[in-house]
Symmetry: C2
């Protein structure tokens, strides 16, 4: 989507670019092209050293330091620096892990840029759930087994109601938890309370598509112990296909 700049004489542009799950070769051709044409690249978690290298040597690279569970830069400040940079007439690429529209805070950055009359674009990317499924060889939907896919997070912030994963845990649904390793006890308890059998298989895809990528499996009742035992922290995708149980 492109918005025409309002009344800038030398308007810059902002592209929110999905960088995919980490591996450089999981970038799209369009993402690579935007990087190659960038004057300035804003990034947070660096998914792959080689991704940033796609930008010209002359491009400015700005780390805006968002890690899971630790926001070194508040979102408002990120919005402000991105907008300021584009208003200098530069082609700004804001690199987002995965796809910008899924847990990527895209709306806030787009709104700020549009308000300043900056041309905006989103370049979609491979979201972590798809990369995790590819890595493990387990489908996210399967005929006769699962016809609905739910992407959610068990994380919450002060004042927000906790996303209730349990409300979506119906037979025929695959639930994928993003950024939820720290919330494993809450996920486990929520699902067990529904009557999900304790041995229901859960898959944990760690460092998907990156060096050291691995897959760990367990029953839902052992989710927390398994995460501790395998020293899994941060960058992992937890997924589970809800079997037929209870009243459905």
């Amino acid at each position: 989507m492109k918005d025409s700049p309002a009344n800038q004489t030398a308007p810059g542009s902002l592209a929110l670019v999905g960088a995919g799950p980490g591996a450089r070769d999981l970038l799209t051709l369009r993402a690579m092209q935007r990087l190659q044409q960038a004057d300035t690249v804003f990034y947070d978690r660096l998914v792959d050293e080689e991704v940033l290298e796609l930008a010209p040597a002359s491009a400015k690279r700005v780390f805006v330091g968002k890690h899971v569970g630790a926001h070194a830069w508040p979102q408002d400040r990120i919005n402000a620096v991105i907008v300021a940079e584009a208003l200098k007439g530069r082609r700004v690429v804001r690199l987002k892990s995965g796809d910008p529209s899924i847990f990527g805070r895209a709306a806030e950055e787009l709104t700020a840029a549009r308000a300043a009359g900056i041309e905006t674009e989103i370049v979609p990317g491979v979201t972590a759930a798809c990369a995790a499924a590819a890595q493990t060889g387990l489908p996210l939907t399967e005929r006769g087994v699962s016809d609905t896919l739910v992407l959610t997070t068990a994380r919450c912030r002060a004042g927000d109601p906790l996303p209730d994963c349990a409300r979506h845990a119906k037979p025929g649904t695959t639930i994928v938890f993003y950024m939820s390793v720290g919330q494993a006890p809450r996920v486990r308890d929520g699902l067990l309370r529904l009557g999900m059998p304790p041995a229901t298989p859960v898959t944990i895809a760690v460092d998907v598509s990156k060096p050291g990528a691995r897959t760990v499996s367990c029953g839902i009742s052992m989710l927390s112990e398994t995460i501790i035992q395998h020293e899994i922290s941060g960058c992992a995708i937890i997924f589970i296909t809800c079997p037929k149980y209870g009243s459905g």
Copy 2:
């Protein structure tokens, strides 16, 4: 994920490759590379003429004719020809619209190939929901508005229970319907019955990322009329962010 071939002397391989939503430049670099190395490419809906052109001129191209709502080739037959081709020692690419793991029938083709001892791999792709969000500029999750994304289909087949989109239509959830244009009345009725306000905005992204891509919006109560009025058929993504209503 790679499985070692069991006891083939000249084993071929099968890569289920996500072709993304249609535009050639929304292929990943890895997808492009697999196409360039392919001996045989199986495809169904041709998303972009240029995508197939990435395969070598010498590569065999086989149309296995799956269109929305019309399966010219039964899945069993597709499985059989893919396996037979790989067993000849060929590098087989099975091109899938979007991401292979989401509504891509990946499990059936992988199971058939693994049973035959064929090395398999999934190359993830950009799924239609992400491309639709990028095209329309509307996020799929948004802080304080939507923290869960549901990908589903309102389609059904004989003997299957209809996927009940209503069970996932909770405040704070964005629901994306794939391949559901023909089921618009069912979607509308299901959501209205829940007490969703008739004016709740619905976005219909048509021919996402392809030539002629367009976006149409309406209130949920007008979904069917809008689809007819704009002559939307087949390739469209319908999405809706559930507002706070009813008991939640």
